[in-house]
């Protein structure tokens, strides 16, 4: 048993650490499954699942584990964050959203269930008057529609339950937010650190590439790509991630550059540490706080990007997202105004929550702020 353990350890040492070993194993297994999926067997996993597994492994290995390994430091920062009431509210709201997305679908109706008898029902507490054309009498008569407990948030003009749509949208937004941000930040971090550490020609090339990416206005580029390749949720997530890494790359590069010349790095080098050890053990932990702050502050942008795409009609038609609901609401603004109000409020509160948390984290990590 110990023999096997020792063999694993020696392999790990050759690749540069246990975590890197796990990363490689995961990449290989995902890669082979993907190939099998594509060529041999009928879809085992949907594309989103791959992204999930890949991302959770990376986050788990390189973000969660370091936070756990430095528990005392993590606790210190947590105490500082807690002092910011707005940030705590934000965290609470996000947790509520997560619960809503996970448990909600079990308690709500099918968001895609269309029903013409139940259309245009207002939310609880409102009644509306509608003038309906009766073909028999060839007249418009006024009908009052009252809210029912069955549809606490009302229905849209096709009879779909708004609460169900909101719950479904919560799940979509959270997934898109987490996945796309994860992709964008992973790419951005890799490019930023590589660029800063390797320097010279590599740095130049990578930075020119970043400049080209950054010259395109983010949203227009998104629209452009989705227009060409078609609206599919997994693809949209991938594209948002692949186009949104530029800010992260720049920031991480400048942070790494400034860290590289700091005394503790030079001291490490003087003690004989290897390059990769310096990167992983010293630079990465210092950059992690920056990454965490950037993550929380990028998620709202990502969520809004997906919502905006759905709003203008370029979202995945098979998925009920808040943007899509907003679009439906806008198109029948005079009859079902609540369909336009509620998803917007949810988007607003979600973005607000992440902004509060991100700001609170940034203040907590900044040693100069008076907490």
């Amino acid at each position: 048993m110990t023999n096997r353990l020792n063999r694993v350890k020696s392999v790990a040492r050759k690749v540069g650490g246990i975590r890197r070993l796990i990363l490689i194993l995961m990449a290989v297994s995902l890669g082979t499954t993907a190939l099998l999926d594509f060529f041999v067997v009928e879809k085992i996993f949907g594309p989103l699942v791959y992204l999930y597994i890949a991302l959770s492994t990376i986050v788990g290995l390189y973000v969660i584990y370091p936070l756990y390994a430095g528990r005392r430091l993590t606790k210190y920062y947590w105490v500082r964050v807690k002092r910011n009431r707005l940030a705590v509210w934000g965290l609470g709201f996000i947790l509520f959203l997560i619960l809503l997305a996970l448990i909600g679908p079990f308690f709500t109706a099918d968001p895609t269930a269309v029903s013409f008898e139940e259309k245009n029902i207002p939310p609880l507490g409102f009644t509306i008057e509608e003038s309906v054309y009766e073909p028999e009498t060839e007249q418009f008569i006024a009908k009052t529609i009252t809210a029912t407990g069955e549809h606490p948030l009302g229905t849209d003009n096709k009879g779909r339950d708004l609460l169900a749509m909101i719950v479904s949208g919560a799940g979509v937004s959270l997934q898109v937010g987490l996945l796309a941000t994860g992709i964008a930040l992973t790419i951005g971090t890799l490019i930023g650190v590589m660029s800063a550490y390797l320097g010279g020609k590599m740095d130049n090339i990578l930075m020119r590439l970043t400049d080209v990416m950054m010259a395109f206005p983010f949203f227009l580029l998104l629209v452009f790509i989705v227009f060409i390749f078609g609206p599919n949720l997994a693809f949209i997530v991938l594209v948002i991630g692949l186009t949104g890494w530029t800010g992260a790359a720049r920031l991480i590069r400048s942070q790494t550059l400034s860290l590289r010349t700091r005394e503790f790095v030079m001291a490490s080098k003087a003690l004989g540490a290897s390059d990769s050890r310096i990167i992983l053990a010293h630079l990465v932990p210092n950059v992690i706080s920056l990454i965490i702050v950037m993550a929380t502050l990028s998620i709202p942008g990502v969520i809004l990007a997906e919502a905006a795409l759905s709003f203008i009609g370029l979202g995945d038609p098979n998925v009920t997202s808040w943007g899509m609901v907003l679009r439906a609401g806008q198109q029948s603004l005079d009859t079902t105004w609540w369909v336009a109000v509620v998803p917007g409020v949810m988007l607003f509160l979600t973005v607000l929550a992440f902004n509060f948390v991100g700001d609170g984290l940034r203040d907590a990590f900044d040693p100069r702020s008076a907490l």
């Binding site: 400049d211 010259a215 206005p217 109000v341």
Partner: protein, 325 residues
């Protein structure tokens, strides 16, 4: 102030800009050609609805768009066309793309200009005020409101404003009237809601950036020196602190222009029906009019490139400490 190295710097930046411009062109070209749909496919859908013979049409389109030629030839003619200012033909509007752009760019321009003035003037003033009165109720209120401002999805804000002021209160029309002369009061009136929509997010952002830039500089030693010289407080803040705070602020504002403002303008035009380039491009998407979409994307990317270049050079004039050699 003389900077002898400035010419060399400008030359270098222009060179980089050219490289990035080439990168933009190439990336756009690759995306379009690599995409699973070709311009022909979309056109075919239209054509089939009109009852013509598809295979002939395909041949005609491919010949017209040059899709039957090898890839590198297509690329060269693409670049050549762009250099000559030929942006292609918009079949959904029956006019050359360049003519389409000439007629519609002014609507986007006026929207962005007015929103930037609105957001800039008010935002920076509030930011300065907030920083100077740090820790007072005004500061907390301004900070909280700016959080809200940057969190509101601007397309939703537009819809809500329409709901309130056009549908419920009937104060504004729900569509944009192009018959009104651009400099007329009526035109400004109908631009009120769109400018508020686009400007709110920008304003909130400016408040935050200005406040933070001012706060950073208010603590510095030269502020104490300025006061020790007997300068009135408004000169200390308005001249000494502001000049230092403006430097990072300008870069941030220009940087935001690309990512946030253009995207925001796009959505605002769609919500309010303003016939600017964003809306034109959007309509082109649903008509599968490739040439227009490509053209608008390219133009916005180039605009951002130029703005960044101008900002960088302006910055070197403003900050005497910078040397780029």
């Amino acid at each position: 102030m003389k900077k002898s190295w400035l010419r060399g710097y400008i030359a270098k930046r222009l060179l980089f800009a050219v490289i990035v411009a080439w990168g933009i062109l190439t990336v756009t070209f690759i995306l379009v050609r690599v995409g699973p749909t070709s311009p022909a496919d979309h056109y075919l859908a239209n054509v089939a609805a009109q009852g013509q013979d598809p295979s002939q049409v395909v041949a005609a389109i491919e010949a017209r768009y040059g899709l039957d030629r090898p890839l590198h030839q297509q690329y060269l003619s693409y670049v050549g066309n762009l250099a000559r200012g030929n942006l292609g033909w918009s079949f959904s509007n029956s006019m050359p793309v360049i003519a389409l752009i000439k007629t519609h760019w002014i609507y986007s321009f006026q929207l962005i200009l007015l929103s930037t003035i609105f957001a800039g003037v008010i935002g920076i003033l509030i930011g300065i005020f907030s920083a100077v009165r740090q820790y007072t109720k005004t500061d907390y209120a301004a900070t909280f409101l700016s959080f809200i401002g940057i969190s509101i999805p601007n397309f939703w804000l537009g819809v809500m404003l329409i709901l309130l002021f056009s549908v419920k209160f009937g104060l504004f029309k729900t569509y944009y009237d192009t018959s009104l002369s651009l400099l007329s009061l009526a035109n400004f009136r109908q631009l009120i809601l769109p400018v508020i929509t686009l400007g709110t997010g920008m304003l909130a952002g400016y408040v935050r950036y200005t406040r933070s830039a001012m706060l950073d500089n208010l603590r510095k030693d030269f502020v104490r020196t300025a006061r020790a010289k007997g300068l009135p407080e408004r000169t200390v803040i308005g001249k000494h602190v502001l000049r230092n705070a403006m430097l990072p602020l300008i870069t941030i504002i220009m940087f935001d222009l690309g990512s946030i403002v253009f995207g925001g303008a796009y959505l605002t035009e769609i919500v309010f029906g303003i016939p600017g380039l964003g809306r034109v491009s959007f309509n082109a998407i649903f008509a599968a009019d490739y040439a227009v979409v490509v053209a608008v994307t390219l133009i916005s990317a180039f605009l951002i490139l130029i703005i960044n270049l101008v900002t960088d050079i302006t910055y070197t004039y403003l900050d005497p400490r910078i040397r780029y050699d």
